[in-house]
């Protein structure tokens, strides 16, 4: 939602279509226009993010050489300087890796036709009712020659893509339920289709990223099971009703299927042990085999996100933040049922307070429900750049969790 509005704020020509379509759900203050039968997009705020005051965000034109080069690259690749880039430029090192991966996945040669990629992007983004991202991909989809009929719903797309629907749903909300049967369904149509997973994940991540747009780091352990159990009670009370997003998105949403707590879920799902299947040893090799170079790109991105630190925390300098970063990372994986043998989950409780946990859980599991209040209520003394940093961690951790489940299923399918 929030992103949708963010999109509306961006008065770029390229976004005209999505704005017109998207503004319908922005709500409020347009009575007259509707009377006239004209829908006029209205900015709901200023700046790239609704959570971060505009003046806190880098003004275009005041960036340093590195950032400028990034902006130039981004503009060259996308034809626009989007809000995500403007927010992410708090962390140029990460942004560079992010843009590179995004570009490779969406624009470079690959096993899938370009319009398939954007269509998958639409499917993935719609899972979280992210109209901004849906619109973005709809534009790109049409731009690369996609058939507009497909946009009327998944049933109008080729069988190959329809088969992805179920996997997409599970992957987005309950990745621990993925089995090799899911993979079988997809690969029956085409062998080269494995690659889709990686791609899909990617999209999802993109979507998250837009949903986050703002976030960070702060001063900052019980057992895995406790944490897991607790994590499901961590939910915010302000459960505002979400209206279905705009036209296209509506066709892809199946609101009956959403995130369910890992441990509360009816059937018993065995805990995923990182020591048995981890990204560095297993996931990387598989992805690189299925889609050359992508493994490397994603690996690099994980690395940068995980290791990014400025050794600062709010007003303190020279702080080793590795412990906090690890706690956040592992907490997210914990919510997805992924366990590290060598981690003391008690640390999480000591380092992450309740409001922060609420925020993390909402962003990771139901990004469409994030509110400014949640954003403001955690880590009050921290800088916005630090909060953005946290969001980057959340994006990457969730993406890795999904990838791990999907790749494990593929591995099982292959053996």
């Amino acid at each position: 939602m929030r992103l949708a509005s963010a999109a509306n704020e961006a008065y770029t020509a390229s976004l005209a279509v999505s704005e017109l379509l998207g503004c319908k759900q922005c709500g409020g203050g347009r009575g007259q226009d509707e009377e006239l039968g004209i829908r006029i997009p209205r900015p709901l705020g200023h700046g790239p993010s609704r959570f971060i005051p505009e003046k806190e965000i880098l003004q275009v034109g005041r960036e340093d050489a590195q950032m400028h080069a990034l902006f130039a690259d981004s503009f060259a690749a996308l034809g626009r300087l989007d809000n995500i880039t403007l927010v992410m430029v708090f962390h140029p090192q990460y942004l560079e890796s992010f843009l590179k991966t995004q570009h490779y996945l969406l624009q470079m040669d690959g096993p899938l036709p370009l319009h398939y990629r954007h269509y998958i992007g639409i499917m993935a983004a719609a899972r979280h009712q992210c109209s901004y991202l849906v619109n973005l991909h709809v534009n790109d989809f049409l731009h690369v020659g996609g058939d507009p009929k497909w946009l009327n719903g998944l049933e109008n797309a080729p069988q190959k893509l329809q088969n992805l629907g179920e996997l997409n749903k599970v992957l987005a909300h309950r990745p621990w339920l993925i089995t090799k049967e899911h993979i079988e369904v997809c690969s029956n149509v085409s062998d080269s289709f494995f690659e889709v997973e990686a791609l899909m994940e990617k999209m999802k991540q993109l979507q998250e990223c837009r949903d986050e747009e703002e976030a960070s780091q702060e001063e900052m352990a019980s057992r895995f099971e406790i944490e897991k159990r607790e994590s499901m009670f961590v939910f915010s009370s302000d459960d505002e009703e979400v209206t279905p997003a705009r036209d296209v998105s509506r066709h892809f949403e199946d609101t009956s299927y959403g995130y369910k707590d890992f441990s509360r879920h009816g059937m018993h799902v065995p805990t995923f042990r990182v020591q048995d299947y981890c990204w560095e040893d297993h996931g990387y090799s598989l992805v690189n085999r299925l889609y050359p170079d992508v493994g490397q790109l994603i690996d690099e991105k994980f690395h940068i996100a995980y290791n990014l630190t400025y050794n600062t925390m709010a007003m303190h300098k020279d702080v080793d933040t590795s412990m906090l970063r690890r706690a956040i990372w592992n907490y997210i994986h914990c919510m997805f049922g992924i366990r590290y043998d060598d981690y003391d989950y008690g640390e999480i409780n000591q380092l992450l307070d309740r409001s922060f946990k609420v925020y993390i859980k909402t962003v990771v599991c139901t990004p469409e429900k994030v509110t400014k209040r949640m954003y403001d209520s955690f880590w009050r003394q921290f800088k916005h750049s630090e909060k953005v940093h946290v969001n980057l961690l959340l994006i990457e951790a969730r993406m890795q969790a999904e990838l791990l489940y999907a790749l494990r299923a593929i591995t099982r399918y292959m053996t």
């Binding site: 036709p113 042990r273 048995d276 560095e280 040893d281 297993h282 090799s285 085999r289 043998d341």
Partner: protein
């Protein structure tokens, strides 16, 4: 021999006496006795009330001095030692909980009884003295996670450690403050390393980049001695005892096999064990002095003992073959000796007719891989001048491609081809003329000639030679030509020879049919004409152009173009792709139409529309192109123009054009190549001579580049080049003397020089123009 475990294994280790093996995993830790025919469970070390993470083993190692002592590395970061000598059921001895993250590897000192080393995900290595409660020293890699630690077998104080960031470090156990040496060994994590049991300072490392590298650490800088490329990330590497160059590897993902490599032969594994159904996680040679037994544990929950003599040897299944062209058209062909011997045995006639070919054979000394790589080398040399391409140049220069009526062009080109002794080509031109021009215009003599040839010669060639080797085809054609008077006997003769060749083609490998083909030509003694048309000589690069279009899956861009599917379709029909049977089938209709044609010409006037033949003509063009004679294909394409163009897809045409242009340019036939470019209708081709047509000139006075116009300088406002004869500005071709740098309009200067050899500017120079 194998046995089923209850759970996936992570590591295996053998006892000093090679009679017992320890298997460790997340939920298993057992000791098995290795007996004659089976594994017998000796001991289960996972005892106690409830499973603790301390027992979730990432690695296990058995002390090579003390058969009662084992150590395990736990996934939660604990290092546990076990004493089998304890009287109680619980054999757990000591517990070191110093590491913060998973311990990836533990290693006992090879000769010291109490020294244990561990490497962990937290980036630290710790050395423990088992007589003390905690570590003796801690080594900080200053980089990421430690993946493996190994004590050197030869150097008492040295150990090597490998890291997730690709580094390998060498440490002295007495100096925990800094490492002795560090170098980057792999791209991405180095998962494992192993010291050579005999060669001092040799270290093998394996990484996620799918490589195994052997390093010589004795030199000042670590030197890479060997590099083996595997197909998946390397999880373990172990030198094979008693075999200096052998090592065993297994992979972490995707590939379940265990390979034994000879490091000097990095592309084909010396041996391969294929028993496991899931990834192999631990390998160990059973006895330090016995190269024949390998033990392995796997995620598929089995423990296996592999016998080296049972291993499959991929080398035996591979046919080592090599083929290469020399600068002057020589052909070298190396193949396994047994294969070559079998070939020559099957072909008794080959030995007799080797007038034009020198056949050399020598045995390679099979030093490094005795018995495996013995092969025979054959070199086929061409006679000096035999590979001449003069026919190509002549043809290119003399062909007429445009500017005259079609009938004249065909006749002219047929004449050129005949004069160069290329009768089949000449025949083709004549046929084209018959097909596309009014039949009444064909001179009767010419017609008779073509009919006789068309029915007897052209077709058998196309059918039975399977479009494979022009040289053989030409051989028989030459013969026909010589005895032109007797068409009937020719046909018989040709049929038999054609059959012969077809059979051979079916039986023989590609490399070996070369002598057979030359053989035919030799009978006639007209070697001169054999070579020119040998397709391999003419267009060595031809196959490279053709293949990429088909050998790779089509990318979406190609699918997007409307002609994509048709292109595929046509390709599938073309002789190049399909097998020999299909060829004959697809050409069968051509056969009948040809005979139809000849009959219709002799008996009554043909009223068949030219379109009727277009399929045939297209086949013919492809035939020539496949032969390597793109010259013919392109020439016909240009001459016939619209009549056939629509039937051949754009890409093929473009491909022929570019091949031909490339050839022309190699022979410096610039004018012809430009003419071809000009006449081509393919957009990609015709834009070739539109590129880099700009000429940059500098002003002759101020020496600055003249950007806006080429003849007047913006800065000094002077005309840069005036004609010394007429004193006007030269805007077109300007010619000048390199001696005095005066010059002018080409025409003017030429005219001037007719009357005087001095410079027209009056400088007194005796001008010379090249």
């Amino acid at each position: 021999m194998h046995c089923h475990l209850d759970a996936p294994a992570n590591a295996v280790s053998v006892c000093r006496d090679a009679a017992q093996v320890a298997v460790a995993g997340r939920s298993i830790f057992k000791i098995y006795a290795i007996e004659e025919e089976q594994f017998v469970e000796k001991l289960n070390l996972r005892v106690g009330r409830k499973p603790s993470l301390n027992l979730s083993c990432a690695d296990v190692v058995w002390h090579q001095m003390d058969e009662n002592l084992l150590a395990t590395a736990a996934t939660n970061g604990v290092v546990v030692t076990w004493n089998l000598g304890r009287p109680s059921r619980n054999k757990q001895d000591q517990l070191f909980t110093e590491h913060k993250r998973t311990v990836n590897k533990v290693c006992f000192h090879p000769t010291e009884a109490h020294v244990l080393l561990s490497g962990s995900q937290d980036g630290f290595m710790k050395c423990f003295d088992l007589r003390r409660k905690d570590s003796v020293s801690t080594f900080s890699g200053q980089s990421e996670s430690v993946r493996d630690v190994q004590f050197s077998i030869r150097d008492y104080f040295t150990f090597a450690s490998t890291f997730e960031n690709g580094n390998v470090q060498l440490w002295d156990i007495r100096r925990p403050d800094r490492c002795e040496r560090m170098f980057t060994a792999h791209n991405g994590p180095v998962f494992c390393c192993d010291w050579h049991p005999e060669d001092r300072g040799w270290l093998a490392t394996g990484g996620r980049d799918k490589m195994v590298k052997v390093w010589d650490m004795t030199t000042h800088r670590a030197k890479e001695m060997h590099c083996v490329q595997t197909i998946a990330s390397v999880a373990r590497v172990k030198w094979r005892p008693e075999c200096r160059h052998h090592l065993a590897t297994c992979s972490m993902m995707v590939d379940h096999n265990i390979y034994v490599w000879d490091v000097r032969r990095p592309f084909v594994p010396a041996a391969m064990f294929e028993e496991h159904r899931d990834v192999t996680t631990g390998i160990v040679w059973r006895h330090p002095h016995d190269p024949s037994f390998l033990l392995s544990g796997s995620k598929d929950s089995t423990l296996c003992q592999h016998l080296f003599r049972d291993a499959s040897q991929p080398v035996e299944r591979a046919n080592p073959e090599g083929l290469c062209y020399g600068l002057f058209g020589d052909l070298a062909f190396a193949a396994k000796e047994s294969l070559v011997a079998a070939e020559s045995g099957r072909k008794p006639c080959a030995g007799d007719r080797r007038h034009t070919i020198f056949f050399k054979r020598k045995l390679d000394s099979a030093e490094p891989f005795s018995g495996l790589a013995s092969s025979a080398l054959s070199v086929f040399e061409t006679e000096p001048g035999g590979g001449s391409m003069s026919w190509f140049v002549d043809t290119a220069e003399r062909y007429a491609l445009a500017g005259r009526p079609l009938a004249e062009l065909c006749d002219h080109n047929a004449k050129v081809a005949r004069e160069l002794g290329r009768n089949q080509v000449a025949q083709t031109w004549t046929m084209l003329r018959i097909i596309y021009c009014s039949p009444g215009l064909v001179p009767s003599a010419n017609l008779n000639h073509s009919v006789g040839k068309g029915s007897s010669c052209g077709l058998p060639l196309m059918n039975s030679f399977n479009l494979k080797d022009m040289a053989s085809g030409l051989g028989s054609e030459t013969r026909l030509d010589r005895s032109k008077g007797d068409t009937r006997s020719d046909t018989v003769l040709l049929d038999s020879s054609a059959t012969l060749i077809t059979n051979e083609d079916n039986e023989e490998t590609e490399g070996s049919d070369v002598p057979a083909d030359y053989l035919l030509g030799d009978v006639e003694g007209e070697e001169e004409e054999l070579y020119p048309l040998d397709p391999e000589h003419v267009h060595p690069e031809e196959p490279e152009y053709v293949l990429p279009q088909e050998a790779f899956p089509l990318r979406h861009e190609i699918v997007d173009t409307p002609s994509g599917p048709e292109h595929l379709q046509e390709k599938a029909d073309s002789p190049h792709v399909s097998g020999s049977e299909a060829d004959v089938a697809s050409l069968a209709p051509a056969d009948s139409s040809f005979s139809l044609l000849s009959i219709s010409h002799t008996l009554y006037d043909s009223r068949l529309p030219a379109d009727f033949f277009s399929v045939l003509v297209c086949d013919m063009l492809r035939f020539y192109a496949e032969q390597g004679d793109v010259q013919m294909a392109v020439s016909v394409l240009i001459v016939l123009g619209e009549r056939v163009r629509k039937d051949i897809d754009e890409q093929t045409q473009e491909h022929w054009y570019t091949s031909y242009i490339d050839l022309l340019q190699r022979f410096c036939l610039w004018n012809v190549s430009n003419q071809v470019v000009k006449l081509s209708t393919s957009r990609a081709v015709s834009c070739l001579n539109q590129a880099s047509t700009t000429l940059h000139v500098n002003c002759s006075h101020c020496k600055r580049p003249m950007s806006s116009r080429g003849w007047v300088c913006d800065r000094c406002h002077r005309a840069a080049s005036t004609c010394a004869v007429c004193h006007h500005v030269v805007k077109g071709l300007f010619v000048w003397c390199q001696g005095c740098s005066h010059g002018g309009h080409l025409q003017h200067v030429m005219k001037w020089l007719e009357g005087s050899s001095h410079c027209p500017a009056g400088c007194g120079h005796l001008c010379e123009y090249a």
